[in-house]
């Protein structure tokens, strides 16, 4: 944060800034030198901030009308939909907002995987990001329970029952989580409490995530270290702010399309049936963004094994910076890894697909193949490819490839027309 010293113009501002350097912080954020070659995959950080704020604001309003009680929750949601002014809009923004949040976070994570943003010196940014992602999943899961429909109830039953797989103390832990001997009113109450808490924890982690980002500065599509500030960078404002604003607006158009024209397509119709502990739905499925992990869970015949594997699928990402042995960050210059990256994308999409299907026949086979590949990618492919791969020549600076144009064939690959 030492590009240049910021000196407030007025005496009053200087007095305040000497005591709490908020103006220095503002100046830092405005001037923050950002690589000028960031493509649109880099706009999802800003989009995610928008998603978080949207969820918090709509959530606070919903909480003013929602009643966290097993007998009243479903009716209070209908009350919001029918009697609260624009309640339907606020609720649909909140419920679709969760899906949009996850869509954006998955793009953000895969962007990081493609361009090696998790690698040194950005490991801590990556780990904080994963903690945010974990909290997001917890918040989304508990939020889905609150309307107290059939999928709420049975989803909560399935997920909380996972903890009963823990040897010896599993059942006690599950009872403790429920606050009862089954998913019931105490469960709903505590889920509401935690659902309200978690977004603020996420907000705190987002501050740390951005702070950690501002120490080394942004990675970029070329993946090289750049001098800051230099002719390779632009000040964050107005260059990046306007670009983020444009991308955010495109994102909002799609968001609005869901909210206004097909607000229930990402949900499950069974969740408009009030929770009934005596009737189990034919297929209990989580929301789409949890399906790949659901597929991994169900691919193992043993319950404890499935739970361990499912959690490992997330926790393996925490050690990714040390599993990747490549010295080159960006997959643009990694011809072999780049192909494995896309195979991983397809693998995760396939796991999501089979997660929505019954765990039988071909779907079970696909789930198992997909699960094995998922782990092979991180445990075997990442270290081995990074070690053996012959990478393409890397430019010395961001400006260089722009100046040399198409002379270097490796720089003109698809999806990176700005390199």
């Amino acid at each position: 944060m030492s590009e240049h010293e910021y000196v407030p113009k007025s005496k009053a501002a200087k007095w305040f800034n000497d005591r709490l350097p908020l103006l220095t912080l503002g100046a830092h954020l405005t001037d923050y030198p950002t690589p000028k070659n960031l493509n649109y995959w880099w706009t999802f950080g800003g989009i995610l901030t928008f998603c978080l704020i949207t969820q918090i604001v709509t959530g606070i309003v919903l909480a003013m009308h929602y009643v966290a009680h097993a007998d009243l929750a479903f009716a209070s949601v209908e009350h919001i939909m029918r009697d609260v002014n624009y309640g339907w809009l606020i609720r649909y923004i909140h419920s679709n907002g969760a899906s949009m949040f996850f869509l954006a976070v998955y793009i953000h994570i895969f962007r990081s995987l493609f361009y090696g943003s998790y690698k040194s010196p950005r490991e801590v940014i990556w780990i904080i990001g994963l903690m945010i992602y974990l909290l997001m999943m917890a918040a989304a899961f508990m939020g889905y329970v609150l309307p107290w429909g059939q999928m709420s109830f049975w989803g909560a039953t399935v997920i909380t029952n996972l903890f009963s797989a823990i040897p010896l103390v599993g059942d006690s832990i599950t009872t403790w989580l429920w606050g009862a001997y089954s998913v019931d009113n105490p469960t709903l109450n505590r889920f509401f409490s935690l659902h309200y808490l978690i977004p603020f924890l996420i907000l705190g982690l987002v501050v740390l995530h951005i702070w950690a980002l501002h120490i080394p500065g942004n990675n970029n599509p070329v993946g090289i270290d750049i001098k800051k500030p230099s002719k390779d960078t632009v000040p964050f404002h107005p260059y990046i702010t306007i670009k983020d604003a444009f991308a955010l607006l495109v994102f909002m158009i799609i968001f609005a399309g869901f909210v206004f024209f097909t607000p229930n397509v990402l949900g499950h119709s069974d969740n408009y049936i009030p929770a009934n502990p005596l009737v189990t739905p034919a297929h209990i499925v989580p929301e789409w963004y949890l399906l790949p992990f659901y597929a991994i869970l169900r691919s193992v015949p043993d319950k404890l094994g499935g739970v361990i594997l499912m959690f490992s699928a997330i926790f393996i990402l925490f050690v990714l910076p040390w599993l990747d042995t490549s010295k080159v960050r960006s997959a643009v210059f990694r011809p072999i890894y780049r192909q494995f990256f896309w195979i991983l994308v397809i693998d995760v999409l396939m796991l999501g697909y089979v997660g929505a299907m019954p765990a039988e026949g071909i779907y079970l086979v696909l789930a198992r193949v997909g699960t094995i590949y998922y782990f092979l990618h991180f445990i075997v492919v990442m270290p081995v490819v990074g070690y053996l791969e012959k990478t393409d020549p890397i430019p010395m600076s961001i400006s260089e490839p722009v100046l040399t144009g198409g002379a270097e064939p490796s720089l003109a690959r698809k999806g990176n027309d700005k390199v």
Partner: protein, 260 residues
């Protein structure tokens, strides 16, 4: 660049939507009806909503509750839009339990527009017991609570058939080709001419099924018309703003030698 990114975004959304869970394979796909409320600017057919309410009131309401609706909803914009007098008269035709009064006694009085729709049974258990062990579901959000939505509800209403050979049915169970498992405990209540429509429309089974389904679709999504109208405005606004911001971005980035 922008174009290919947008394409990718759209593609990811299509993928999302295709991740819909499947249902049991026994039932036939519901009939596709060209509802007036489908599509980006869909609205409800006012006359059909009013007829549908009549079918609900005279046929369905003897077993099915609609506990989340109030009589006043019948007069609100985007719904059947009965006049204020009609809504008052409809509400007043029901005896609503109120109280306790100053003596601690419950009493009944004629309904008011602010009252919720009167339920036919005091509770779920009573409804279940009176209907051969099958609870007639509350219909407030029924269209949203069934895969296939309005098409499915309509299909079940017109999907009663004699069971195919080899299928035996218990007493009080009926064969319906659109129902999951093909067995339904609701008898086929619709027959031609059952309801005498106030507007003189011929009350065929198909007409009544369509009208009452339209009514139920509105009941599940009373905000639909406003949602569609607002949505069109919001999208137009966002598109215009996006164009302006895009042009500003081009202008700002033209100051340096880098492309955006």
């Amino acid at each position: 660049m922008i174009k290919s990114n947008i394409k990718l975004l759209v593609l990811s959304f299509l993928l999302l939507i295709s991740f819909r869970p499947i249902h049991s394979a026994e039932m036939v796909d519901p009939i596709k009806v060209d509802w007036s409320f489908k599509g980006l600017t869909g609205t409800f057919d006012r006359a059909s909503l009013q007829r549908g309410f009549q079918v609900y009131k005279e046929v369905c309401a003897s077993c099915h509750s609609m506990q989340y609706l109030s009589y006043r909803n019948l007069g609100e914009p985007g719904g059947p839009e009965f006049s204020e007098q009609e809504v008052k008269a409809i509400a007043a035709s029901f005896e609503i339990e109120d109280g306790p009064d100053s003596q601690g006694e419950m009493f009944t009085r004629p309904g008011k527009p602010s009252d919720k729709f009167k339920s036919p049974y005091p509770n779920v258990q009573a409804a279940t017991a009176a209907n051969g062990g099958a609870y007639p579901p509350d219909m407030s959000v029924l269209v949203k609570a069934r895969k296939g939505g309005a098409n499915y509800i309509y299909s079940v209403l017109v999907g009663y058939e004699d069971p195919p050979p080899g299928v035996t049915l218990d007493d009080g169970v009926y064969y319906n080709k659109y129902m999951a498992g093909n067995k339904i405990k609701m008898p086929n209540n619709l027959m031609d001419g059952l309801v005498e429509y106030a507007d003189g429309t011929e009350s065929t089974v198909d007409q009544m099924a369509k009208d009452v389904t339209t009514f139920l679709a509105w009941a599940a999504e009373p905000e639909l018309e406003e949602r569609h109208k607002t949505g069109v405005k919001v999208i137009i606004y966002l598109v215009l703003l996006t164009i302006l911001v895009y042009l500003s971005m081009k202008k700002i980035w033209s100051r340096i030698d880098s492309e955006v």
